[in-house]
């Protein structure tokens, strides 16, 4: 650790005491200082002058590289996030502030680092920096590990750069680098990029232990036209459910293909195209036109501003949830669109999601995406066919998510803004889940002992249930209960991860468990909650002690009349046999049991089979979009299972935008500055799979209707499409990457289903 105290004895102008780029490292007087940077404490100095008389504070966090032993798992874990000399310390305040940096007059590009405060997870930071010389940037983020980079273009006057800092909660600044605009490219390459890599990937000494293993590109080099070579920019289209890797070639047949899709009323549908650069571009902008009906229907269009426009962000990912030392770039997050640079040889995928308005006139809609790239103009045709179909959904099926309830952060959030942010996050995520077809989430009831008396967080669960109901969730809620607390009361020990340390407790434990569930159930009925599925332990192991304990636990719960139990275990394991009579809902990872076995067991014993398909949730591979679509669509249809409920809507540890830090990698949906969700491609694939299922279900209902009306030939013709799908379908327990239809085929099946729906839906009820 090095400490440098800045001398205040330099003569004015202070800016002459150090050279561009001008780096300012904010923190305490004692905290580590980035080499060559000026220290900025809450008191400021001649080179960085605070204006306000209000109190500013500084905080320093340790720079830790050592891994520490986790007693619970017995494994060593890295630090939650890696600090550097620039990020480990900061200056923060609750009031608006003005900071003047003494630098020579001229045009500048500023990089501000803000975050990684080390504070509580519930704390929401908010910073907006506006320069007197023009330029503004802002960030809002929660917790103590996220780090943000803010960029401003501004002009320094005679007094230097004047920055006005505003906040709605608390702002913080770790570092600021001011680069004369003319030197930006050079400085960025030599100085900024290594700093960003250290801050947003891993510090160099850690990164040196990792190997990048990019996905090999087997695509032959395409032949580009002279114009494409001259302009250096090519557009191409590929089915949305096939990933576009960052530096892979387009396939020859994909180049110049319009972005096209078809969708029914009320349906969300992705429309994508990709830009491939044959030279470096500093900024790509895209402007989407309205989509105008060209099928002889006048005054029918879908306005461009109704189409959600995003781009696919490539993230550095690990090959597995808990793997270290290997990484690659993968297409993952669907970031809200903003102009992007595009380096030579790289891809930029535009991802637009249209929701077809109800009763939008049927037919073809044409429009275009106007691409502007450093003076180069491209027009990408966009075609949408609107189908006059009202899709139906099998309402008996359950679609859910394991979920961390944002409202749980309210009571520890430190200010109004933070509380409002968490409330908005909760609201936005529930709406997002509904719009992606979900109808339940996993709940949890906290319970603890006070003076040996049970206390339960019923009101907290009530709020979560109210929110879920407000968006129409109408399926049972799997709900964890404090079995571990009860166990500790009786055994003075932990059950261990997946019951790894469990021993058979005394009879009183099970009696009290029955009483506890009875009490919870009584309260649940009093509050008129939907059904709770009692979820006492997650993923019990197959150890005989674990199974014997679980069997007793489930039996104890079942002593309460009319309650059902929920277990995350694979019934294929014979060892779980003793639990079998007491399990009402088996939740298995893949579709581990065959369709017939599932259906017959459900029919004969009234149990239900649910599935948590984590293999397509991103915890390992972030890219199996085709497998996700298959799992949620045709695969689910043929599985016989009643629910899909993967882990998890959002998994974040350490910096939520850095998948290489923390002991497990981050995956699935991210969070925007306003608390609203930022989807990933897999999340969209879930919805598209559900839509495949809706087309199947709608057609099945139409077939039943027209057959009942005596249109037997038409019904048989439609049934032949379903038969054809089944004949060519490779039914698997786990759909991921192998043995799937080609991406084009999924859309072709959907179209064949749609054609039959269109043919049947207008047939009269009686011939």
């Amino acid at each position: 650790m090095r400490t440098k105290i800045i001398s205040l004895t330099f003569l004015f102008p202070a800016c002459l005491t150090f050279a561009a780029p001008y780096a300012f490292d904010f923190g305490t007087a004692e905290s580590p200082l980035h080499s060559g940077a000026v220290l900025v404490t809450p008191a400021g100095n001649k080179q960085a002058v605070w204006k306000s008389a209000d109190k500013r504070e500084a905080r320093s966090n340790p720079i830790i590289r050592e891994w520490t032993l986790n007693q619970h798992t017995g494994k060593k874990n890295p630090p939650r996030s890696y600090q550097t000399e620039l990020t480990c310390d900061h200056v923060h305040a609750r009031h608006d502030e003005t900071l003047t940096l003494a630098v020579p007059a001229g045009e500048y590009k500023l990089l501000i680092l803000s975050g990684r405060s080390g504070s509580r997870a519930e704390h929401v930071f908010d910073i907006r920096v506006t320069a007197d010389g023009g330029g503004s940037a802002s960030a809002t983020f929660a917790g103590g590990h996220e780090l943000r980079a803010l960029y401003l273009d501004t002009v320094a006057g005679q007094d230097g750069i004047v920055l006005n800092i505003a906040t709605r909660s608390r702002w913080l600044i770790n570092a600021l680098i001011a680069v004369p605009a003319a030197e930006w490219l050079d400085v960025h390459e030599k100085t900024i990029k290594p700093i960003l890599a250290a801050c947003f990937m891993l510090p160099p000494e850690e990164l040196s232990k990792w190997t990048e293993t990019p996905r090999p590109d087997t695509t032959p080099n395409p032949e580009f036209t002279e114009r494409q070579k001259r302009e250096g920019l090519v557009f191409y289209a590929r089915p949305w459910c096939e990933p576009v890797w960052p530096d892979h070639n387009p396939r020859q047949h994909e180049i110049g293909v319009p972005a096209r899709a078809f969708a029914s009323w009320g349906e969300y549908e992705p429309i994508t195209f990709t830009l491939h650069a044959l030279k470096d571009f500093s900024s790509i902008s895209v402007s989407l036109s309205d989509l105008v009906n060209t099928s002889d229907v006048s005054r029918a269009s879908i306005k461009a501003d109704l189409i959600d426009k995003r781009y696919v962000r490539y993230m550095y990912v690990r090959p597995n949830y808990s793997a270290f030392n290997t990484y690659y770039r993968a297409p993952d997050v669907l970031m809200p669109w903003r102009p992007q640079p595009l380096p030579k040889g790289e891809n930029l995928r535009l991802w637009m999601t249209v929701r077809v308005p109800l009763e939008q006139p049927a037919g073809l809609y044409h429009g275009s995406a106007a691409v502007s790239a450093d003076g180069i103009k491209l027009d990408v045709p966009v075609i949408l066919r609107v189908l006059p179909i009202t899709l139906q959904k099998d309402q008996s099926l359950v679609y859910g998510q394991y979920y961390r309830q944002p409202l749980r952060n309210l009571n520890r959030a430190p200010d109004d803004f933070s509380r409002a942010w968490w409330r908005h996050k909760a609201d936005a995520e529930y709406i997002d889940m509904r719009e992606h077809g979900m109808n339940t989430v996993v709940m949890g009831l906290s319970g603890w002992l006070e003076n040996n008396q049970w206390r339960f967080a019923f009101d907290r669960l009530q709020r979560d249930i109210d929110l879920a109901r407000s968006v129409g969730f109408d399926k049972p809620f799997a709900c964890s209960i404090p079995t571990g607390v009860l166990y500790h009361k009786h055994m003075k020990a932990s059950m261990g991860s997946h019951l790894s340390r469990v021993k058979m407790p005394p009879e009183e434990f099970f009696d009290e468990l029955t009483s506890m569930v009875s009490f919870i159930e009584t309260e649940a009925r009093r509050r008129q909650w939907p059904e709770l599925l009692y979820y006492p332990v997650d993923e019990p192991s197959t150890r005989p002690e674990s199974v014997a304990f679980m069997a007793r636990v489930l039996a104890a719960i079942k002593r309460v009349p009319n309650v059902r139990t929920y277990v995350t275990a694979d019934p294929e394991h014979e060892q779980f046999g003793p639990m079998r009579p007491h399990v009402d809902v088996w939740c298995c990872q893949p579709f581990s049991l065959g369709r017939e076995a599932v259906l017959s067991d459900m029919r004969e014993r009234g149990v239900e089979y649910w599935c948590y398909p984590n293999h397509i949730s991103g915890e390992n591979d972030h890219t199996p979009t085709l497998g996700a679509r298959m799992t949620y669509g045709f695969g689910f249809w043929q599985s016989g299972y009643r629910a899909l409920i993967p882990w998890i809507y959002q998994a974040s540890g350490g910096d939520p935008w850095n998948y290489l830090d923390y002991n497990t990698q981050d995956f699935f949906n991210r969070t925007g500055d306003d608390g609203a969700p930022i989807p990933v491609t897999l999340w969209e694939a879930y919805r598209e799979g559900i839509d495949d299922h809706r087309y199947v279900h709608t057609l099945q209902n139409q077939i039943a209707r027209v057959a009942a009306a005596g249109h037997n030939a038409e019904a048989a013709g439609a049934q032949s499409v379903l038969d054809q799908i089944l004949e060519t379908m490779n039914v698997q327990t786990k759909y991921k990457n192998d043995g799937l239809w080609s991406p084009e085929t999924f859309n072709a099946w959907r179209w064949m289903l749609a054609e039959k729906i269109l043919a049947l839906q207008n047939l009269p009820h009686k011939p």
């Binding site: 054809q724 043995g739 072709a748 179209w751 064949m752």
Partner: protein, 300 residues
Amino acid sequence: MTQHVKNKPDSTIFWGTTSFIGMALGLTVCASAVQVEYLYLDGLAEPTRWAPSECELSVSPHTAWERPALTMRIPVDYSTGEKQYPIGWPRMYLTLKKEEQVWHEYDRLEFQILAEFSRPVLPKRPLILQVHDQQGQKKLTTLDMTAIGEWRTVQINTRDLGFSGTITRLGFNLNEADYQDKDLVAFHLGGFRLALVTAASVAELSMSAPVIFCDSRVLPLELVVEGPDADLASGIPVQVASQDGIVLTHKVAVSRGRQTVFIPLAGADMSPGKYSATVFPDDRERSKTVAVTLTTTPWR
């Protein structure tokens, strides 16, 4: 010990695939007579070369394809083994000798497996094969074809492993959690060999695109290609036909292993209907066919 042998392929496997397609299309296609060259890796059947944990190794009394075999015997025990993981992973590892690391020159690893078990039915995941490359990547393959008292053939396409580095290490393991406590299971593993198909051929042609739009620019075909690189460089012929006759013939560039190739359809003026795609259409011994339906397009 390694030994080169030229042989005919296991015709049962090829019959299985071709006869299915033949039935689907009402065609009769003969079994392939493509020759296969083997590099036998009998050293892999030597128990002393493996490093076992929680299992016992011995020379098997059986032979596989009349080649030596070894026995991996596992008494499943939920209370012994590593302290932290009493329900563990009995396993054995072997480092390949230099002359055994030439997988990239061959199309597939083959060996035979036979199981003995103290109960009548094996679990779904009886044994797992691990293949490691020099960069530390590994590929796990569940040997779910394993049967009690019956030799079964395992074939691993070397290109399907997805490794760019040299294969340096093999392993076998089971998960005790897949078994019951006190189960006794033994696996006989033998006939280890690397197989090289001596002429370009298509081992698998899958129905990955049974239906596409009629205005598609290409027809995607998923296939597993085997044979010497020199033979493959000139491409393999593919013919697309309708009930009325041949629509187009195209020579498509391929490489060894599993891949998707795209047959250009532009200019062929394909109308909706039923078609077939055949590789090696003029070579009855090597030809394979899949059916494809062209549907109408939503965008006209």
